[in-house]
Amino acid sequence: MKFGVIVFPGSNCDHDAFYAVTHNLAQSAEFIWHDSTSLGGVDAVILPGGFAYGDYLRCGAIAKFSPVMRAVRDFAASGGPVLGICNGFQILVEAGLLPGALIRNRGLKFICREVHLRAATQDSIFTSAIPPGQVLRLPIAHGEGCYYADERTLDQLEDEDRVLFRYLDNPNGSLRDIAGVLNRERNVMGMMPHPERASDPLMGSADGLAIFRSVLQARTVSA
């Protein structure tokens, strides 16, 4: 399976995502520069963490205009798996591919810390390989990770089983402890914690690998 890792100016977890899927998941990957208009036949797309365009104006607000985002949108519309991690989540939200918004952490400070999560749904290509009920230890590293949406949207997300992950120890004030969400078609996800940083036991946790493995399994099953 081939992952495409989008590189925006200011992305800085691009190498980490690349390393996790090539080295820890043992699949292939390629970097896709933000002004590409095509994704070149990859099987899944990762929008990595970082500070695309310096996070100036608002996180993700400029990156959503990058030429590659049109290709990402088409890829998503055709059912391809799209993973937005941290800044990638913020970009997907700004681009309207996922609902809600990511606002400043409740404590107003950047936080780098390990948090505990639980998959809130098994019914997704991103969580199917995670044993039900398992607590995942994943790191966060963000200043604007507080998930926010209006009550109706939040109710709708829950009604449609589209909350992907919830914090057990909510670090940033996210509403309803939401750490990750799905789009309606369930092929686009965004999450603030970093699975690519928890894909190798040497880094303190390999719990994040299950998320990439889920995508791989779904691909193998459907192929």
Binding site: P9, G10, N12, C13, H15, D16, Y19, A20, G49, G50, F51, Y53, G54, D55, Y56, K109, F110, I111, C112, R113, P139, A141, G143, H194, E196, R197, S199, D200, L202, M203
Partner: protein, 738 residues
């Protein structure tokens, strides 16, 4: 516009009459205003090291692994498998006092550029910080609130820059003393990696080659920053805020990627960042190193302000700019890369054969100075030394009986000792997925090198209190502790960098502190075989005549195989607790610099702890063997707060495993518990016999002092209980103090 060069103007540029005479002799005429500005920044203390240079020559700078010693933007050390690391520590003290957020942020930016200008991708940052006291002394105008503002500004600035740039901030140290009230210290260490054949140097070569300017536009910010950093602070210093630059970490990230990519084209001959003294420094230093001339045309320099004078353009310290020399005819390859990254690049001049820095503006030559004289012939001073400032030989008062039960929690909540989580959680310490041990997990920070399969351990250490009492011994203790921290995690120290923070060198007793400290570093680094490959000297850390403690900070790097790190906390109950190096002796005269003397007795006297270098070295060899053989389940060296504090810190793991220890000693209890003699390491092990055998082989003491237990910490002295504590309570003191 012609500005008359008057004695007043010369003095405003902090040039002495003698220095001015030398300028006239070099030029064979009076300098222009622009030339005066150029000389004043290049010959400032900050750029020329004119007070310290003759003493820095005493430092060991060579070794089998050293590829590049001092004199370049960063030192370079061979780590095997075809890879090298580039690293250096630098201060940004003065700007951080005037404008904490931007001062610290641009400090990070500056040192990162020093690393990637060598062709190395930055993979780690650590910080050594000093602030004034945090308590407000009970008065609203006390120093506490202001120092807290400086602290939070500095930390936010470091976080802002490092996090956005994408380099992990993996460790460091933060200490507090009243002497830093008016002079906080912000020392930033950065380390990068590259293949040995991909190193770039800041050297111009090839007559006729184009000189190219890349990155941010030049503005009026930071003019005379280098001179500001070379003077004491006065009441007027707040007016110097415009001298502090403003950082843009996003621009720097683009610059990093673009520079590394441009270097891969093979079209770049030499490259240097524009840091202190901006365009002036980068042009004349590159020219001087290459023994060539450089001619630039200021009209071609991208500018963000209109109507800038040649003086302003040459002295601006606008951030995120680089100067490079490309192969003639291949500049388009370079421009293409910078275009891809959306960065401005402009050909602003050429390399010439006449050794001159020639600057044109609006068709006129505004400066014409020989590069070598400007860059390397700054006046050198052999400043007079007097005995270092004296200190009381004995404690002025010391209660007859101590109170260990209450003293331990008090020390654990002391600002120097307590957890700095509130600081380091604001730093991304994991980006690049190499961090094996980030802040407060092990005695040294640890990162793996994916390219080689090996890992690096890094530690920063300095102790102003020790150095205030004895700068030579204090500096040696800093080197010893730094190396010990590496050894505790199993790493072999290979090379060092230092940041020398001192007061006004024109005062003989301050100059003496500098000389003593350099000689101490020199002796200790020779002993541990850790050559100094670069660093920085920050003088004039004084406000209104009040100097800081002499504060040399060491940054030392060690090598070890990649694996799970040996961390501080006890892991399992029922293990032997062994104190390598033993309890050591300490008398009252060596207790006056301890944290106990500071926090409980509020005094500073006598001497730092004694250091036996050969013994220290054997202790380090022993612990490295013990770690290599997998015998240590946990390891932690004794430093600030001594044995009791180290024991408590070992209990603060997730499982809160405690210990029961009994100390066979007749020392006075508070000396026994809290003295800070070096060369001591606490480990827990399931193999005490093998540990003892290794200790014996290296002829060091290995004292079995107790056993790990499920709950609580109890310390006895010859069966008499000195204290018994609930770990959660101790930990809450430690965790919530800052």
């Amino acid at each position: 516009m012609t500005v008359a060069i008057t004695p007043d103007l010369i003095q405003q540029h902090q040039l002495t009459p003698g220095e001015y005479a030398k300028i006239v002799a070099i030029l064979g005429r009076e300098p222009s205003y622009t030339e005066l500005g150029i000389f004043s920044v290049m010959w400032s203390e900050h750029c020329s090291y004119k007070s310290s240079r003759r003493h820095l020559k005493k430092l060991p700078t060579t070794g089998s692994r050293v590829v590049q010693g001092p004199g370049e933007n960063a030192g370079i050390v061979d780590i095997g498998s075809g890879y090298v690391i580039a690293f250096k520590i630098e201060s940004h003290n003065h700007p951080s006092f005037i404008e904490p957020f931007q001062g610290a942020a641009t400090g990070v930016g500056g040192i990162l550029r020093d690393i990637f200008t060598m062709g190395a991708r930055p993979i780690a940052v650590l910080d050594s910080l000093r602030f004034g006291r945090l308590d407000d002394l009970g008065v609203p105008s006390g120093p506490g609130p202001r120092n807290r503002r400086i602290l939070s500004g500095v930390v936010a600035g470091i976080a802002h820059y490092g996090n956005c740039f994408g380099v992990p901030t993996i460790g460091g140290e933060t200490l507090f003393e009243p002497c830093y009230d008016g002079n906080p210290l912000v020392n930033v260490f950065a380390l990068g990696i590259c293949r040995k054949e991909d190193i770039f140097y800041a050297k111009a070569a090839g007559v006729g080659n184009p000189v190219i300017y890349v990155g941010a536009r030049t503005g009026r910010d930071g003019i005379h920053g280098a001179s500001m950093a070379s003077a004491e602070f006065t009441e007027e210093s707040k007016q110097k805020r415009p001298n502090v630059q403003v950082g843009d970490p996003f621009m720097e990230k683009l610059l990093l990627e673009a520079c590394l990519e441009a270097m891969r084209t093979g079209a770049i001959v030499g490259i240097q960042d524009m840091g202190a003294a901006g365009l002036t420094c980068s042009t004349c230093e590159m020219g001087s190193r290459g023994e060539v001339g450089i001619e630039i045309e200021l009209d071609r320099v991208p500018q963000r302000a209109t109507g800038m004078t040649s003086y302003e353009i040459m002295l601006s310290e606008s951030q995120e700019r680089m100067l490079l020399v490309a192969d003639k005819g291949r500049q388009d390859e370079v421009f293409a890369v910078f275009r891809k990254w959306g960065l401005e690049a402009a050909e602003i001049g050429i390399v010439t054969g006449d050794g001159q820095l020639r600057v044109r503006h609006h068709g006129q030559i505004v400066a014409e100075i020989p590069n070598r004289e400007l860059a390397d012939e700054a006046p050198l001073y052999d400043r007079p030394v007097a005995p270092v400032p004296s200190v009381p030989a004995h404690a002025s008062s010391w209660p007859v009986t101590g109170d260990p039960q209450n003293d331990l929690p008090r020390l654990l909540s002391a600002p120097d000792i307590c957890s700095k989580r509130a600081i380091w959680e604001q730093y991304d310490y994991q980006v690049r997925t190499n961090t094996l041990a980030g802040p407060e997990r092990a005695d040294a920070a640890l990162i793996r090198i994916k390219e080689t399969g090996g890992s690096l351990a890094i530690s920063l250490d300095g102790n102003g209190r020790y150095c205030r009492l004895d700068p030579r011994l204090g500096a040696m203790l800093a080197v010893a502790e730094c190396c010990r921290n590496l050894s505790v995690v199993g790493a072999t120290p290979i090379a060092a960098t230092n940041c020398l923070n001192f007061g006004n060198p024109e005062r003989p007793e301050i100059m003496a502190q500098l000389v003593e400290a350099v000689e101490g570093i020199s002796e200790a680094c020779r002993c541990f075989d850790t050559p100094i490959t670069g660093g920085n000297v920050s003088l004039y850390n004084e406000t209104l005549g009040e100097g800081i403690y002499p504060t040399p900070v060491l940054g030392i790097v060690g090598l070890l195989p990649t694996g799970f790190p040996v961390t501080i906390p006890f892991k399992v109950p029922g293990r032997s607790v062994i104190l390598l190096g033993g309890l050591r002796a300490c008398d009252e005269s060596q207790f006056g610099a301890t944290q106990y003397a500071k926090e409980i007795l509020h005094q500073l006297w006598g001497l730092p702890p004694a250091l036996d270098l050969p013994y220290e070295q054997r202790v380090q060899l022993a612990i490295r063997r013990i770690v290599a053989e997998g015998l240590a389940e946990s390891a932690h060296d004794l430093s600030d707060g001594g044995l009791a504090v180290a024991l408590a810190e070992c209990c603060f793991g997730p499982a809160e495993i405690g210990a029961h220890v009994d100390l066979p000693s007749d020392l006075r209890p508070e000396i026994l518990l809290f003295h800070e003699a070096p060369s001591r390491i606490l480990i827990s092990t399931s193999q005490p016999v093998q540990v003892a055998a290794i200790a014996e082989a290296f002829e060091i003491e290995s004292l079995l002092i107790g056993v790990t237990i499920e709950k609580g910490l109890e310390i006895r002295q010859r069966t008499v209980t000195l204290g018994a504590w609930d770990i959660a309570t101790l930990k809450s003191h430690y965790d919530t103090a800052l």
